[in-house]
Amino acid sequence: MKLNIEGLLVYFPYDYIYPEQYSYMLELKRTLDAKGHGVLEMPSGTGKTISLLSLIVAYQRAYPLEVTKLIYCSRTVPEIEKVVEELRKLMEFFSKETGEKNNFLALALSSRKNLCVHPEVSSLRFGKEVDGKCHSLTASYIRAQRHSNPSLPSCRFYEEFDALGRQVPLPAGVYNLDDLKDYGRRKGWCPYYLARYSILHANIIVYSYHYLLDPKIADLVSKELAKKSVVVFDEAHNIDNVCIDSMSVNITRRTLDRSQANVDTLQNTILKIKETDAAKLKEEYRRLVEGLKEATVARETDIYMSNPVLPDEILQEAVPGSIRTAEHFVGFMKRFLEYLKARLRIHHVVQESAPQFLKDIFEKVCIDRKPLRFCAERLRSLLRTLEITDIADFSAITLISNFATLVSTYSKGFTIIIEPFEDRTPTIANPVLHFSCMDPSIAIKPVFERFQSVIITSGTLSPLDIYPRILDFRPVTTASFTMTLARTCLCPLVVGRGNDQVAMTSKFETREDFAVIRNYGNLLLEMSAIVPDGIVAFFTSYIYMENIVASWYEQGILENVQRNKLIFIETPDAAETSMALEKYQEACENGRGAILLSVARGKVSEGIDFVHHFGRAVIMFGVPYVYTQSRILKARLEYLRDQFQIRENDFLTFDAMRHAAQCVGRAIRGKTDYGLMIFADKRYARADKRGKLPRWIQEHLTDGSLNLTIDETVQLSKHFLRQMAQPFRQEDQLGLSLLTLEQLESEEMLQRIAQIAHQA
């Protein structure tokens, strides 16, 4: 289908289009026209990805000078693959329509573990091992050493790529990870380095968030990407947590021990090099005296994206004299480590700000702020000079040096919490130093500053105004789209009471209450009797689930449930969970259906879709509040209140509701799908909770479906399921929620579409 979006010719690879997709593209185009950032919410299963791709690709074709590149960030490898497949469809449609040969280069990028074709290296199991091994074969000085000693092992794929791969650009086309590997094998080139090199001139890149948000990785991979790019963060409802995680540092006793070993190795290597090759250290010394001029030039000429771990002050000044020579630097690191060790030897919890920490460290071991600030950069330079082969081994000391740089650079937005033991095991000493970032805007700031348009999109971004506030940017468009439906295929119900009129809630005070647990059990039992196929039930935490399932067992509820359906349980162990999931799906295929008990914020709630018969009902037991006693969370809430005027309760509710919406949204993955959404907690009926659900769920939540008893729920569900079970054909949708081109172009429809976008 060829669409006209405000004068832009868009090729859309399907014969039919949803009205909200059209509306979404309109908003997107306006955002791109304004060269600003946007926040767009559209329900899952309504074709967000293809709308995004087809509009931005069309935009790139129409204005090749305005937008040069699309950077599409997703969360997991399967999602990345899905995006590439959609893109392939789009490109094929395009060349079929126009008859032109496609001249776009689109590729996916992932870690070495997913891209390596070296027979030995790729057989390693963990990503870290693969990285380390690859580095030990391909690092520049190792290859230099090989000139004098050809017997050293090498990676022939990398050698081939290095010799030939850069001269000829990757031919235009769409490459997913397997395509890259095939191409690499055919040519004998390393696919990982080929992809990393090719993203510089590719038109479309699809990769994970971390390549852009994690400063350590972004510095390697993404810093040279062009300014005139459009960045899309898909499934971005958790983006603030990703940002925070990428800037936070946790230091345990083991980290310190390992970095102590690292320091010793450094010292020995320095001694050895001093005897054999003193000139090398001298050369480094001379360079440090001159300052980090090269980096400054690069940043000034705007080639690189700025890096939050490498603050601007560092680039303007030379490394301070006290850590200029290698020995002094090692001594400095030793003192720093000993200080941290002494700090970890405590018996009570300490929370302090960065300035307090800096003052204390000056008093105890005479370390100034300035050398600390240069610590990460100085270590990197030393490692390069000493030609250390196995960088992976030095992860501990690199972490420590990053911590040093961060703590001395940012006086706001971070907090230091030292806990002598975990909350669950107060008798076992296991001290941890959390250097936790409280401000997600620090990590994402370079992205907003560098790129022309950043689009944040997901199925659940409500309330829309909170994301710009916590990420500290000013969007030009914020819009929420609803699902236009030919039949109401989702049925949210809030169950507030049991049949005995006892309120149902996962509130802390009534958690252990026998009546509440029994009522939850009854709800599950009743639903298992009337819902065909799969039911997914979410609990607020693993511990809560364990308690409830145990008492259900004692009360005989589980036995009764099992008469109707099989039960599967998610555990913290990934292998066990994927096994349970597989068997659950098998049971669903067999006809009688099954029940999967899982946990909000767990693996199942985030990445797994339960299409059609895999999930006909989702039951959310309780409100999934985050564990509020954690000190890190408390500090963050305080920071949010002071800096962004967001109240604790608002944020906690927002966080709980976005996870609840994620969980219940698992069941509806398209317009032909249908499912019950049961919120089993009376607190969902309150306006402040309900108002934070996405609009597409809120619309179907009428007053009649609030605060129900179990009996009423069963009645409503039966009615809903009977209605939905009627055959549903595409013709029923046509003209209402699915449009052909002619229908789309009618005056009346265009008017309706204009109302779909809900400007926040």
């Binding site: 030379a318 301070p320 004299g321 001594g331 060790k341 300035p355 003052k359 005027q645």
Partner: protein, 310 residues
Amino acid sequence: MDDQGCPRCKTTKYRNPSLKLMVNVCGHTLCESCVDMLFVRGSGNCVQCDTPLRKSNFRVQLFEDPTVDKEVEIRKKVLKIYNKREFDFSSLREYNDYLEELEEIVYKLTNNIEVERTKRIMEVYQRENRDVIQKNKAKLTHEQEELEELLLLEQQENEQRRLETLQEEQRQLQAKRKSKQALLDELERSHVPATILLAQHKDRATQLETQIEKQKQVVKTTIFSTGIPMGQTVSLQPVVRIMEALYSYQPIDIHTYGPQVPDLDQLGRLGYLNHVRAAQPQDMAGGYSSGLACHRAIQDAFSGLFLPLG
């Protein structure tokens, strides 16, 4: 840390959790009871390196590595003498060199390299720079000052926040109590049906809440319009002197190795201008004249191609 122990009596922290390790200027460890026993007379020699020690110099070992304890001790001593600040130097480069020198001294003293010579150097330095050392004793470095400021600010903020929340809570409590009382009074006296009164009351309550919220949003100013924080000592750092030679103009001296080129204003008189295109009025607007191009062409033509030898 459990395997740390006294090298003399071999007691470890594991066996005696209350074991206190001490360290002296030489950087060797002894436990408290051994120190008490060996240094009854107040002084003696180190068991491991025979350095004469005083009992009063023993300190509780803070770090696992006793050499770090020793280094910190030495560093503190050295920093008392070498206390120049960044603004005592004219350039950053010199300051960095100074820092390195300082570091070198500490390194040598800690690792017992050329101890005597280093000490002599320190003494000389101390004598030479007595005034500066005295002057800088009371001063904090620029960075420390910044830190102090930040800390003070933080403290103030915390205090203010505490007060605010306290006041806020009280005010809310009072307002709620008042509105409840008002409702009761009205229910008692008024003739309007109770449902309407209740609805009115509810409205008022929500209004009150929104009002409170609005008040919360107002952020109080804590800085003057000049950007200086209120109630804050202002650090008056001297401006760094920049010592540079002033630029002086020297006219360039050009050898063309060819015939003399006539001056620009003479071109017309000598008839050169008759052979070039006259300047258009739109060219002249930008300051162009046909003489410029002509002069340039003559210069090119007259300059010699080869340098004269010798």
